[in-house]
């Protein structure tokens, strides 16, 4: 009968704590584990019970843990009562270190003191949801633990059966949209590593015949991606396309993190500008974020500074009501959250025309998609994940 009652009480304890928010399952384990260890250290008897919270757990969670612990101890045969008249005193402290919740039990009996410690891994709190306002919208393409350098949509669209190519520092990955989810079809190592870099960048661009080019510092890969991946990589200093339409090319400084300013285009036109991080190619001008810290715009061979507070990632995009928009990340360090805003040219000045779209981490890459209607951004999260987004500038709210 006693055994049955104990089992029932333990089951009740599990149900009770399972209803806790956040890391509730850990607390079920924790209460049972600690009560078991206390009972192992000292044979169950009459005891007083106290609990102190030194951790960041809130009052309601603490009172639930307290109730759970009392139940778990009682189910193991402890008779919990007032301090007076009890030879055993159980003092629980809920504390934490940088990694775990740490629960300690000090079991005092006469002059002896036993200590038991249980560690519970802290749950990861839900990451902050970013706002999404007015004209800029985004669609999460893929999320990856390994560093994503760039992605491209070979068919130029997102629809059932569409493909996606992702470039990482070590491989190219092929995904397909199946039942609304991007499922990995194939991952193929590059075979040739890029030159080492602290702020590694890369570019992958597809063409209409199923082929693609991938560029990393000192490496150029050429291949095809239809239902499977087939490519080879070679050492190369070939210029990189600045956007997915491949109309403008620029030479990348392989041991740095920027383009050296030498421009090229498939039709043989070339030119030189200041070294830059990224460019937004508009219909009659090109904006650059330069390595000297300034943003500038080049029109008809003349360069002029941009007096806007821009980050280093920019790209051009079109919407149904504005043909020339520049998307620009915000100024800030790589450790901070980032945001994107849209700007349009009015009287030769770039003026913001959207509310900023927040990202939880820095934007690592931004480029114009093949159709110019969309842009692709790679951003990191505070938890170290890399996320690729398809960005659209819509008119109105």
């Amino acid at each position: 009968m006693l055994k049955r009652t104990c089992r029932w009480l333990l089951a009740l304890n599990v149900c009770f704590l399972a209803a806790l928010p956040a890391a509730g399952q850990d607390f079920v384990f924790g209460t049972n584990q600690l009560s078991a260890e206390i009972s192992q250290a000292v044979a169950p008897a009459s005891a007083s019970f106290s609990l102190v919270n030194r951790s960041s757990l809130n009052d309601s969670t603490v009172s639930t843990i307290r109730a759970g612990l009392l139940q778990a101890l009682q189910s193991r045969g402890w008779k919990i009562g007032r301090p007076e008249g009890n030879e055993v005193a159980i003092a629980i402290t809920l504390n934490e270190n940088y990694r775990n919740y740490v629960w300690t039990a000090e079991i005092s009996k006469a002059t002896s003191r036993e200590v038991r410690i249980v560690e519970l891994v802290k749950g990861i709190s839900g990451r902050a949801q970013a706002d999404n306002h007015i004209t800029l919208s985004r669609y999460l393409l893929v999320s990856s633990e390994s560093p994503l350098l760039d992605v491209t949509l070979p068919e130029g669209k997102v629809g059932e059966g569409a493909h996606l190519l992702a470039l990482t520092t070590a491989a190219i990955q092929l995904f397909q949209l199946q039942s609304g989810k991007w499922r990995p079809l194939q991952t193929q190592p590059l075979g040739r590593g890029p030159l080492p870099g602290r702020d590694m960048r890369g570019r992958i661009a597809s063409n209409q015949s199923g082929g693609f080019d991938a560029y990393l510092p000192g490496v150029h890969c050429i291949g095809t991606a239809t239902s499977s991946l087939n490519f080879s990589c070679r050492q190369s200093d070939d210029p990189w396309p600045l956007a997915d339409d491949r109309q403008s090319l620029a030479f990348y400084a392989p041991s740095r993190n920027y383009f050296n300013g030498v421009l090229s285009s498939p039709n043989g036109q070339s030119g030189t500008v200041n070294a830059f991080f990224s460019a937004a190619i508009l219909s009659d001008r090109v904006a650059f974020t330069n390595v000297d810290g300034h943003a500038s715009v080049v029109q008809a061979g003349k360069s002029a500074p941009i007096a806007g507070k821009w980050g280093s990632s920019i790209a051009a995009v079109q919407s149904s009501c504005r043909t020339d928009l520049a998307l620009a990340s915000a100024a800030g360090d790589f450790q901070t959250a980032d945001s994107l805003s849209a700007y349009e040219v009015v009287n030769s000045e770039f003026r913001p025309v959207s509310e900023s779209m927040a990202f939880t981490g820095p934007i690592m890459s931004l480029k114009t998609a093949t159709d110019h209607q969309q842009a692709i951004a790679i951003a990191t999260t505070p938890f170290g994940r890399y996320e690729a987004y398809l960005l659209t500038a819509r008119c109105g709210t």
């Binding site: 740490v102 560690e119 915000a330």
Partner: protein, 460 residues
């Protein structure tokens, strides 16, 4: 009208052009100032926190380790790409990264790794087979990954002048002992060249001098007094977790303190709470444990409250006692205050402590008690305890390397503290102030600063 146009032009030409900041920029020199000073390149752990801070800063950017810790304190591959263990963590295998360039122009070999690790870990038996390194130990080393991520296990060779040569992003350039170290970018670093061209570290600068230099734009990054919540200079203030331990350490086998009652009486006389609130301005934590709360989570199990009557009861039967000398670092103002307060508390219990300042050129070798300020340097319990054990010569603490459970770790620490040869007082954080031109600042909660990913704006 013409005048208005001219005014507009003038106004526009004066308007500041916004910086585009996100992407790191290459080039420039970071000017750092610190209190500590070193006159040679010693890799062993240092009992002086300010010297240890400087050593760790240079070491972690010049020499890599087999393992590195990410911001959450999780072990990550560095010079070792993969690892596995056998025989209950008594045998460990590490695959050494291929093609790692050293600053000497050679390539890292497993033999160089063995030489570096064997010097610091005499209990380990290391040998190489191809690019695989085998480490064996008589006792289990479950926390070996954290041990290997500690500064003293940096893989460094010794250059002609004894300077460290490693595979890190910065290499040692000009070195003026006790005054200045210049670090230069290592272009062939396996993780890529750092953004900075140079880091110039001025040593032996007081807090006041550092603040003045930051204020006058002669420094970009300085230390700050961690007990002052209001920064002494304009800039961005960053604190670590409490990573330095203040403790009283009795000199082993010293006749003046052979009686454990003297040590326990002194321990019970300490008013840690007032030291914390008055001297530390509530920064850090009063503590009777070696490990701070943020590392262990169980420091509350070590009772830290003052009990003068118990201290007197322990002291009184001992009759007349000779005064005990208490040494502290003459260059550490906070240490002086803590030593004086400890002497005051001891007097209440009937023990005479005589504070004496010492510096590298003048040491009291016959001191009875030393006030130590140790830099812990790791978020790992076992690594931290064994480091304290090495510095304070407490062999019992080496048992922490084999402790696999929190209870076992607590038992090791309790055992080491039970004879009161070491009396912890408080844990304090470290603080830094950086100029607004310093970007992508990255510091772990245990005070590891990554200079390689940091960049500075060019002078305007």
């Amino acid at each position: 009208m013409k005048r208005i146009c001219l005014l507009l032009v003038a106004a526009l030409s004066l308007a500041p052009i916004a910086w585009t900041a996100s992407r790191p920029r290459f080039g420039g020199t970071l000017r750092v100032e610190v209190r500590g000073a070193i006159s040679s390149f010693e890799i062993t752990d240092d009992a002086n926190a300010s010297r240890a801070l400087l050593r760790d800063l240079v070491l972690s950017n010049v020499c890599d380790r087999l393992i590195t810790l990410n911001a959450n304190g999780d072990p990550q591959p560095s010079l070792a790409t993969t690892w596995r263990s056998e025989r209950d963590a008594r045998t460990w295998y590490f695959v050494i990264r291929d093609g790692v360039n050293l600053q000497s122009g050679t390539v890292l070999t497993p033999q160089a790794v063995i030489t570096a690790l064997s010097a610091q870990n005499p209990d380990w038996h290391a040998r190489a087979s191809g690019n695989e390194l085998l480490i064996q130990s008589e006792t289990p080393v479950p926390n070996i990954l954290y041990q290997l991520a500690a500064p003293h296990n940096s893989i460094c060779l010794s250059g002609n002048n004894g300077q460290w040569i490693g595979s890190g992003p910065l290499q040692i350039g000009d070195f003026q002992p006790g005054q200045q170290i210049e670090l230069r970018a290592f272009d062939d670093a396996w993780q890529g060249r750092p953004f900075l061209d140079r880091v110039r570290i001025q040593m032996g600068r007081s807090f006041a001098d550092q603040a003045a230099d930051l204020q006058t734009e002669r420094a970009d990054l300085i230390e700050s007094d961690p007990t002052q919540t209001r920064p002494a200079a304009a800039g961005t203030l960053s604190f670590t977790e409490p990573v330095e331990l203040f403790a009283l350490a009795f000199t082993p086998n010293h006749p003046a303190n052979a009686d454990p009652s003297v040590r326990e009486s002194l321990a019970r006389s300490l008013d840690r709470n007032s030291i914390h609130s008055v001297l530390l301005h509530r920064q850090g934590q009063p503590s009777a444990s070696l490990l701070p709360e943020w590392i262990s989570g169980y420091d509350h199990l070590f009772k830290s409250t003052q009990d003068v009557s118990a201290a007197r009861q322990l002291r009184n039967p001992l009759g007349s006692l000779l005064p005990l000398s208490l040494t502290f670092d003459a260059n550490d103002d906070l240490a002086r205050l803590v030593a004086e307060r400890a002497a005051l508390n001891a007097r209440e219990a009937g023990i005479t402590l005589q504070p004496r300042a010492e510096n590298p050129s003048f040491r009291w070798f016959n001191a009875d008690v030393r006030l130590v300020r140790l830099r812990l340097g790791s978020p790992d319990k076992g690594t931290t305890l064994s480091k304290i054990g090495s510095i304070l010569n407490v062999p019992k603490l080496q048992g922490a390397q084999s402790a696999a459970t929190p209870e076992a770790m607590f038992a090791v620490e309790s055992d080491a503290l039970k004879d009161y040869s070491i009396i912890p007082i408080a844990h304090v954080p470290e603080a830094y102030i950086r100029a607004s031109t310093v970007h992508d600042w990255s510091m772990t909660s245990w005070g590891d600063i990554g200079l390689a990913d940091l960049w500075v704006e060019a002078p305007k």
